[in-house]
Symmetry: C2
Subunit: 296 residues, 2 copies
């Protein structure tokens, strides 16, 4: 099961970081973009940039989260770049999360699932992020594929953005919030797919920007692995993340995108690979400080 | 504004039908698929099939809703087919709805919006369906583009599937349901973008399979245009739709996909264009019976 592979890959590198490849052509240093220009409005340069980052970070980071939106906006050439980036990440041994937040009614969810989680999927990924607004029959096609292929999903529970609570935090008549209702279902959806490390193939997206809610969810969802956006560019410090992990320093992975892939901008250099390495190493140390369970 | 164009196109053809191009290669009759086979696993045949349907139905149906999932599952070639299908639909004068249910945090929602609603979008559409789970700051990039370009969105409020109510119908502490909370925001989001026909650029997806809730929402959201899935293959009869329209027979459009694009299967023929025409004409008459306001 890919959830076990993810947990073991994190343990091996002692680093619960997912490299977020939310690559916009503007992030690619101009000389590099010129040297790798091809047809299709920047997709060739983005692919070369991604490949170089993936190679540079392989001994530090175990997992990559690729945000579909930034490839979709470049048209069909961008989607080819998405597939090629995923292929390179798989070839290098990264665990691959497709961050596409897909969701629809059953027959359509089946089509999305076959794009990312099915056998022969054009964007074959270990995990896909999923929007749960449609409820069980909209999510079950993804879960069926997880059962068949060992792949997994991360369903949105509590998102990292400021307005996330607008619907997710609504207080329900039974005294719980909407996101707690969603959390309960997500936990149920994964109950038949628990791997040998105690976590299921059905994970949850929990914003690191809401540390109290994250810590509560950790207690209520002991078999649910968390994908934590919100660290770095979105503002959550490492101390906000600790409660989302279990006592062994497992149970979650922290996504960081702009802080790593734009580190060269902050550093004022075109050597993006070295700047990304430096930031990835700094981030690993930062996380390690609050996760003693992960230390050797 | 595209919402006015949509309303006027419906009035002109006296038909509130959106042709759903949820085209799977299995729907394409084999002789036709063989004759139009190209590289890329069926995308060429799907494009030829879509083009023939679009040409065959232009004098009957004003609007086309293209489901992104069925193109995404075919890889980059499928996404090129999505773009080419949209281009043909625009060229023929259809109002184009991209049914992609996209949604994410602000910066990522911006990227999705530029893929469908921005100027120079690779999948340029008049409308995009949007998932509201992230709340206002996740939806506002789409609304900004709507303000700039005159395009529009349809936000999920009450979906047509059986499990839709699992989260959407939860009773909140204030006595309202979650979908009523969402409906209120959707109405607010559109309040600054109302066209000369009285409807805003921010529409709502309301399942025709829940007629009572649809009729209630119609009253509560007088400026919100509805996209109604659930007719035909999903089981809602025309009588269930009437309450979602206003007194003039405007205010909503009914999506029908499988019942039209697979009509040749039901009829036992390979002449899919004629079978689709026949079903589209039958559907128009069926809708007209419950929408006297649309009659001449």
């Amino acid at each position: 099961m890919r959830i076990d592979r993810l947990i073991e890959a994190i343990r091996e590198l002692r680093n619960p970081t997912a490299l977020g490849l939310d690559t916009r052509i503007e992030y690619v240093p101009e000389p590099f973009a010129r040297a790798h220009a091809g047809e299709g409005g920047g997709a060739a340069a983005v692919l070369a940039f991604n490949r170089e980052l993936l190679r540079a970070l392989r001994d530090i980071i175990p997992c990559v989260k690729i945000q579909a939106a930034y490839y979709e906006m470049m048209g069909a050439g961008g989607m080819a770049c998405l597939g090629d980036t995923m292929e390179e990440a798989r070839r290098l041994g990264y665990v691959v999360i497709a961050d596409a937040k897909r969701g629809d009614i059953g027959p359509t969810a089946e089509a999305y699932s076959s794009a990312y989680l099915g056998s022969g999927a054009p964007y074959a990924s270990d995990f896909l992020t999923v929007n749960p607004y449609f409820g069980t029959d909209g999510v079950s096609p993804f879960i069926s594929d997880c059962g068949r292929t060992g792949r997994g999903i991360f369903a949105l529970v509590k998102t990292s953005n400021k307005s996330g609570g607008e619907f997710q935090d609504i207080l329900c008549a039974d005294g719980r919030t909407v996101y707690e209702h969603v959390a309960e279902r997500v936990s149920e959806w994964g109950s038949g797919l628990i791997g040998h490390n105690g976590y299921s193939s059905v994970g949850a997206v929990v914003g690191a920007t809401y540390p109290e809610q994250g810590a509560e969810l950790r207690k209520k969802m002991p078999h649910t692995f968390f994908l934590l956006p919100g660290y770095g560019a979105q503002g959550a410090p490492a101390s906000h993340l600790a409660g989302c992990f279990d006592g062994d320093g497992s149970g979650a992975i922290v996504a960081a995108s702009r802080s790593i892939i734009r580190a060269h901008r902050t550093a004022g250099t075109d050597d993006f690979a070295s700047a990304a390495r430096e930031e990835a190493i700094r981030m690993r140390a930062d996380l390690m400080r609050v996760l003693p369970g992960l230390a050797p």
